[in-house]
């Protein structure tokens, strides 16, 4: 998707994308926002976008590499680009050279950013679950008079045997879904094994 008024910049960008085997579909401020969300890439002219609130929701919903077409170094324009969280930018007036490099770097930045966001989400989830794991371990310590380290190892081994995440097993213990005494046999065996492995 190219969102940019007709003119020299759009012409240069369209031609170069076609050379790269990319099919550009152009929209301008007079267009209706497209329903089809089957785009792989978006190029958004900063000045046109800021003047066209009708497209704001579409731009915010795009989950793909977005490149800003930036015609001004004015900080207000640069701030707007940063706020949009774009993956890259191309300076206007647009020249054929440099578009491919900007495109590749933007796609890489988008994928990296998405992978980082996933990893951060997973880490946040685990961090949040950490309190549950600690609570479950404390219950094992209190019930079976084992050390904290032994309790954590019991949780780890039990979760592997049941093929569920440590955090999920801990949640089951804390919620009472899995009573702590039910771990009795496991605890005896694990302490023995733990002791042996040490």
């Amino acid at each position: 998707m190219i969102f940019c008024g007709a003119g020299r910049d759009r012409g240069v960008l369209t031609q170069q994308l076609q050379r790269l085997g990319i099919t550009p579909i152009a929209f301008d401020p007079a267009s209706d926002p497209p329903d089809d969300e089957g785009f792989d890439l978006a190029f958004i002219d900063v000045e046109s976008a800021r003047q066209t609130p009708r497209f704001e929701r579409l731009f915010q919903s795009l989950d793909l590499p977005v490149l800003a077409l930036l015609g001004s170094d004015a900080p207000s324009s640069v701030d707007w680009v940063i706020e949009q969280g774009v993956s890259g930018y191309i300076v206007k007036p647009i020249r054929g050279t440099g578009i491919l490099a900007s495109l590749v770097i933007a796609c890489h930045a988008f994928e990296e950013s998405r992978a980082n966001a996933r990893a951060i989400g997973e880490l946040r989830r685990r961090l949040k679950a950490r309190q549950l794991v600690c609570s479950a371990a404390l219950r094992i310590v209190e019930s079976f008079h084992v050390t904290e380290q032994e309790a954590f190892q019991v949780l780890q081994i039990c979760s592997m045997e049941r093929r569920i995440a440590v955090e999920d097993l801990s949640a089951m213990i804390v919620s009472g879904e899995l009573p702590v005494p039910a771990l009795g046999a496991d605890v005896k065996t694990r302490i023995f094994n733990v002791g042996e492995s040490q």
């Binding site: 020299r8 000045e47 800021r50 003047q51 015609g71 001004s72 170094d73 004015a74 207000s76 007036p93």
Partner: protein, 393 residues
């Protein structure tokens, strides 16, 4: 026999900002005639006029006619930043110079452009210095929806926040939009001490007229001050005497400057374009541009823009506003900031002026974060005073 040199003129006679653009064209034409009558120059400037009629898409076409078809190397023109940015690639391609005689928002330096209008440290910083010191800190921002207003409003937001002020609202209209009712309603409701008006052309005139009506109906608005970095004499005539008085404008030129150079300029301008018209900052900027161009062309090869620029960097012109020259570091101009308050007769009373030309700072790298000059040491103590708009010499 003088050698002819072709000069392009690229101004719109139609469209939303035609009043300003026509004044720019007139200022350039007056200077061109003066140069041609001046025996010190051994060349004659021949104008080639292109009129994009305020249509953004027409600017590149007009520029190409001048640069490609007529092979002209020097073009004076453009008012809006969007039109300037549209045609810069053509000037790079044909290695020509655009002489851009308009104030603008800054943050640009191009080797193919000479910026003879005011930079942000000539217009918005002096205005806000005055506002935050003497008018108030409750500020409402309006503007035309493009980079001129976006950038100036950003600067004002930052200066206001640094000085513990508040932005009570920020609204934009499309360039041709004159529906100012919602803005007026908000101003009545929020009662800012200062309204920063970055609207251009007809939107701005509609706002001033609507505000005057609102002030009649709502006396509590009598202390609200409107300030602008564009308001000029031909626009006061457009707005009309009932609504044009009492507004602050930040500009490097007002027709009421009392120097002999300006008196001569005003007289010549009125002789040429009518006894009822007044030259504006935009007309003066275009006038200065042609005079600087003539000095740069003297002794240079006109088609070699590097030799023209080398001449230009050493040139000065005793302009109606005072001495003007170009900073070789950024191609912008040394200009003299002033503040004026509009009068119902279509002129401005000058309330502040700098004692000498100020170096251009298009990237605002030398401005301190507060925007308040420390020259008179009054700091923020007088900020609560209502605007008496006294003359400060």
């Amino acid at each position: 026999m003088k050698t002819p040199i072709s000069i392009g003129m690229l101004f719109s006679s139609e469209g939303s900002y035609r009043t300003v653009s026509r004044a720019m064209r007139d200022g350039a034409m007056l200077a061109l005639e003066e140069v041609n009558d001046d025996s010190r120059f051994d060349f004659e400037l021949r104008p080639h006029v292109q009129d994009p009629r305020g249509v953004p898409a027409a600017y590149p076409e007009c520029a190409l006619r001048l640069l490609s078809d007529q092979r002209i190397k020097h073009v004076v023109g453009c008012y809006t930043s969007s039109s300037r940015k549209e045609i810069i690639p053509s000037f790079e391609k044909y290695d020509a110079l655009l002489w851009y005689p308009s104030h603008y928002e800054g943050f640009e330096t191009n080797d193919n452009v000479i910026y003879t209008g005011a930079a942000p440290n000539h217009h918005v910083l002096p205005l806000m210095d005055y506002v935050l010191r003497y008018v108030g800190r409750d500020i409402y921002c309006i503007g035309s929806n493009y980079v001129w207003a976006w950038e100036n409003n950003r600067i004002v937001r930052e200066l206001t926040q640094v000085n513990s002020g508040r932005i009570l609202g920020e609204r934009y209209l499309q360039v041709h939009d004159c529906e100012v009712g919602r803005i007026i309603e908000e101003i009545i409701e929020r009662r800012p001490s200062f309204v920063l008006n970055m609207l251009i052309g007809e939107s701005s005139y509609a706002f001033y007229r609507a505000f005057a009506e609102a002030r009649e109906a709502h006396p509590e608005l009598k202390d609200t001050v409107i300030g602008s970095c564009t308001l000029c004499e031909p626009e006061l005539a457009e707005i009309g005497p009932a609504a044009c008085a009492g507004h602050v404008s930040s500009s490097v030129y007002f027709s009421s400057i009392t120097t002999s150079a300006n008196r001569a300029f005003v007289a010549a301008y009125r002789r040429r374009f009518g006894a009822n018209v007044m030259p504006s900052a935009d007309a003066e900027a275009s006038y200065n541009t042609i005079h600087l161009l003539a000095r740069a062309l003297a002794g240079a090869e006109p088609s070699d823009i590097e030799s023209v620029k080398a001449n230009l960097y050493g040139a000065t012109f005793q302009a109606p506003q005072g001495r003007v020259s170009i900073d070789s570091e950024n191609n912008h101009s040394f200009l003299t900031p002033r503040l004026g308050v509009s009068r119902s007769d279509g002129t401005f009373e000058i309330i502040r002026e700098w004692s000498e030309p100020v170096r251009p700072d298009p990237y605002l790298v030398w401005a301190d974060g507060s925007g308040i000059s420390t020259s008179d040491g009054t700091g923020g103590q007088e900020l609560n005073r209502r605007p008496t708009l006294r003359v400060i010499r």
